[in-house]
């Protein structure tokens, strides 16, 4: 039997995010060679990541100042 495997949107998302395991990744890469519909579905999940990241990063400059904290602030752990 050589039925093409059905991929879920979650599978394709994981693939696009570099989070698919090796097996899934290989299966999707192979399927993309022949399956045009799969390519179209993949395109339907793509996002302008740089624009999204950039837009959110521009928010950082507009963040309010951290409020003054009570005395115990010195006990606060430092970033790892």
């Amino acid at each position: 039997m050589n039925t093409p495997r059905a991929f879920s949107d979650e599978d394709l998302t994981a693939f696009l995010d570099g989070e698919a395991d090796a097996t899934l990744e290989a299966e999707i890469v192979a399927a993309l060679e022949t399956d045009e519909e799969l390519g179209a579905r993949m395109a339907g999940l793509e996002l302008p990541m740089d624009a999204i990241k950039g837009a959110f990063d521009s928010m950082l400059d507009t963040a309010p100042a951290m409020p003054a904290l009570p005395e115990t602030a010195s006990a606060m752990p430092q970033p790892a």
Binding site: A55, M59, T72
Partner: protein, 159 residues
């Protein structure tokens, strides 16, 4: 904590969907973090710990609002995520992107911020949101589908 604050605030805005609520939430989270500072395990990541706390504070807040008002949470229609910076082309585009993301359901918005903006792995994001990895994946798949539909502009929008 000061170094993390802008990122914590941005996360709080993404969670609540509103800048003013984000201001309050980030502030409350800091106070809570001070309170619980002895529970922080040295050598672990302070940002993730605070993000997790931020969500807990928010969920509690939602619960108590529900009790107080006897109603569900108000839908976040207000697109209030970007500020009144000058109308340069870059700012206009950034604001558009932010309002598209802000229009997503809260859980998707939060996941997009953690994975696509903060760059956390699925596993890390799952730990921060205290949900299974599979749920992160389906939230992101849903977010991708919706955002793609809105943002994929045949006239050559933002790419």
């Amino acid at each position: 904590m000061g170094a993390i604050y802008p990122r914590l605030w941005r996360y709080a805005v993404a969670l609540t969907g509103r800048r003013d609520w984000g201001d309050d939430l980030a502030q409350t989270t800091c106070l809570r973090a001070l309170d619980k500072a002895d529970q922080f395990e040295v050598g672990t990541h302070l940002d993730r710990w605070m993000f997790r706390m931020c969500q807990r504070v928010w969920l509690n807040e939602l619960r108590s609002r529900k009790v107080r008002t006897g109603a569900g949470v108000m839908p976040v229609e207000e697109i209030d995520i970007s500020d009144n910076s000058p109308d340069t082309e870059v700012n206009i585009m950034a604001r558009q992107v932010l309002s598209h993301v802000n229009a997503l359901p809260e859980a998707q918005r939060q996941s997009v911020l953690l994975v696509y903006v903060e760059g956390f792995s699925y596993k890390e994001a799952a730990e921060i949101m205290e949900i299974p990895v599979g749920t992160v994946m389906s939230r992101l798949a849903g977010a991708r589908k919706k955002l793609n539909m809105i943002m994929a502009d045949p006239a050559g929008g933002q790419t």
